[in-house]
């Protein structure tokens, strides 16, 4: 215990703090980039998955299999697979890129389910109406389905990204300079484990807690779908 108190002034130097802020930036940036790309690709996956017709059956099967398989493999295994697969293709990919690709692959599988849930919450009749007016499938998705699906998709997608900030701690295993890796480094420099990992846990808390609050706020804001709000207003007037 005395050791910890003795180490506190040596631990919280401007240099170490700057190091922690920098690595927190890495953690956040990695998650953000990975989840954003993953989110966009998940849209594509869901769009392809919902292709109508018998000829698209194999494509649909592949999309479903992708989502099911990646939701059942640990993130650590995905990281190792991506790392060693990419190293057989090219030797000069940075570890950050590899981490982003792993996060992206994982995020696709999880957000695809969220997006599918949102899209399926749009009443079927609206899509049929659009079909009747001879609007193409892409246009129906962009102008009819998505505007109504947003409020259902956004809050859980943000919640996923926020909870993924914590899961990216595993990326430290392949040596990306993010918070957990810095923590291990500082611990190896001889600082007390309680002090170091307590501080790192606080850093994660400071990243994750405000964002999860924001997510909950958005969830409340978007709780009633826009369409319903409008119809209610019409009925009263």
């Amino acid at each position: 215990m005395e050791r910890i108190i003795e180490q506190i002034p040596r631990f919280f130097t401007p240099g170490n703090l700057w190091l922690l802020i920098e690595s927190a930036g890495y953690t956040l940036g990695m998650t953000l980039v990975g989840c954003l790309i993953g989110f966009l690709l998940a849209f594509l996956l869901v769009y392809i998955r919902q292709t109508p017709g018998y000829w698209a059956l194999p494509i649909r099967f592949v999309c479903i299999a992708y989502v099911e398989v990646f939701r059942r493999i640990p993130f650590l295994v995905v990281i190792y697979l991506v790392l060693f697969f990419i190293q057989t293709v090219t030797t000069d990919a940075s570890l950050f890129t590899i981490a982003v690709i792993a996060i992206c692959l994982y995020a696709i599988a999880y957000t695809a389910e969220i997006i599918r849930g949102g899209i399926e919450s749009v009443p079927r009749t609206q899509i049929e109406a659009a079909e009747t007016m001879n609007i193409s499938r892409l246009q129906t998705t962009l102008t009819v389905v998505l505007p109504q699906a947003w409020p259902v998709i956004i809050p859980p997608a943000i919640a996923f990204a926020v909870s993924f900030i914590k899961d990216t701690a595993l990326v430290s295993q392949i040596g990306v300079f993010e918070l957990t890796f810095r923590g291990k480094e500082l611990n190896n420099q001889g600082f007390s484990g309680i002090l170091v990992f307590g501080t790192i846990a606080m850093c994660y808390f400071l990243l994750s807690f405000p964002l999860s609050m924001l997510g909950q706020y958005l969830e409340k804001r978007l709780a009633t779908p826009r369409g319903q709000r409008r119809t209610r207003k019409v009925r009263h007037s």
Partner: protein, 225 residues
């Protein structure tokens, strides 16, 4: 890409991987059971408990759910020996996972507790049920039905995401075994692709088992996919 896959080495050591899978399963079940116990106590306190206790449970849930499980386990493994508490790596992972799962299960079970309507409890009281009977015949069937899918889903998360963290501090579960074996002969891609398939099979078996139990015990239609 010029890489020749050689799966024969993996099949030679398949027994070790199977042992790892068994340990993964054990860790997952124990962590889930311990977490469910904490969750039950936590959710009861949050619903019925007095003010200071509720605050403690709230702080526990908020702190645990906003920090990574890996850091919690590191804290147990690298931090606690300094104050004289030395646990083996298996114990660290198990205790860390139980604490972690406890917080998430508190939230899930709390949602279940809230889904029980007050009038139903009052109706139970009217026909002379004791508290235990109320819990047994009113609350548990209710909770089981409304949150069984969430619980089953969380079990899979613990089984997969949770236990694989153990590999980082040297527990020989499925991922850990794969790391051990592939550092010997550098067949990372082969080992990890086989391990990935094993995880998928393991979780599918668990999902189907849970869906059957749910249908048999609580008449829940849990989806496997």
């Amino acid at each position: 890409m010029n890489y020749s896959f050689q799966y024969s080495i993996v099949w030679e050591n398949f027994g070790a991987l199977l042992e790892g899978a068994w340990l993964t399963f054990q860790l997952g079940v124990l962590a889930f059971a311990g977490g469910a116990l904490i969750g039950l106590v936590g959710a009861s306190i949050k619903t019925f408990g007095p003010f200071p206790l509720r605050l403690i449970v709230d702080a526990y849930v908020i702190f645990i759910t906003n920090t990574p499980a890996l850091i919690q386990i590191y804290f147990l493994y690298f931090g606690l020996p300094e104050v004289g508490v030395r646990w083996s790596s298996e114990a660290c992972v198990l205790i860390g996972l139980i604490l972690n799962a406890g917080a998430y299960l508190t939230m899930i079970l709390r949602a279940g507790f809230l889904s029980v309507r007050r009038t139903e409890l009052e109706a139970g009281l009217t026909i002379g049920m004791s508290i235990l009977q109320q819990i047994r015949y009113i609350i548990i069937p209710h909770i089981a039905k409304s949150i069984y899918p969430a619980l089953a889903n969380f079990f899979i998360v613990i089984l997969v995401m949770g236990t694989s963290i153990g590999a980082v501090i040297g527990v020989d579960e499925l991922t850990g075994q794969a790391i051990n074996l592939s550092t010997v002969n550098y067949r990372w891609l082969e080992y990890f692709s086989v391990v990935a398939v094993m995880y998928v099979v393991l979780t599918f078996v668990a999902s189907i088992g849970l869906a059957l139990v749910g249908r048999w015990a609580f008449r829940v239609k849990a989806r496997i996919f």
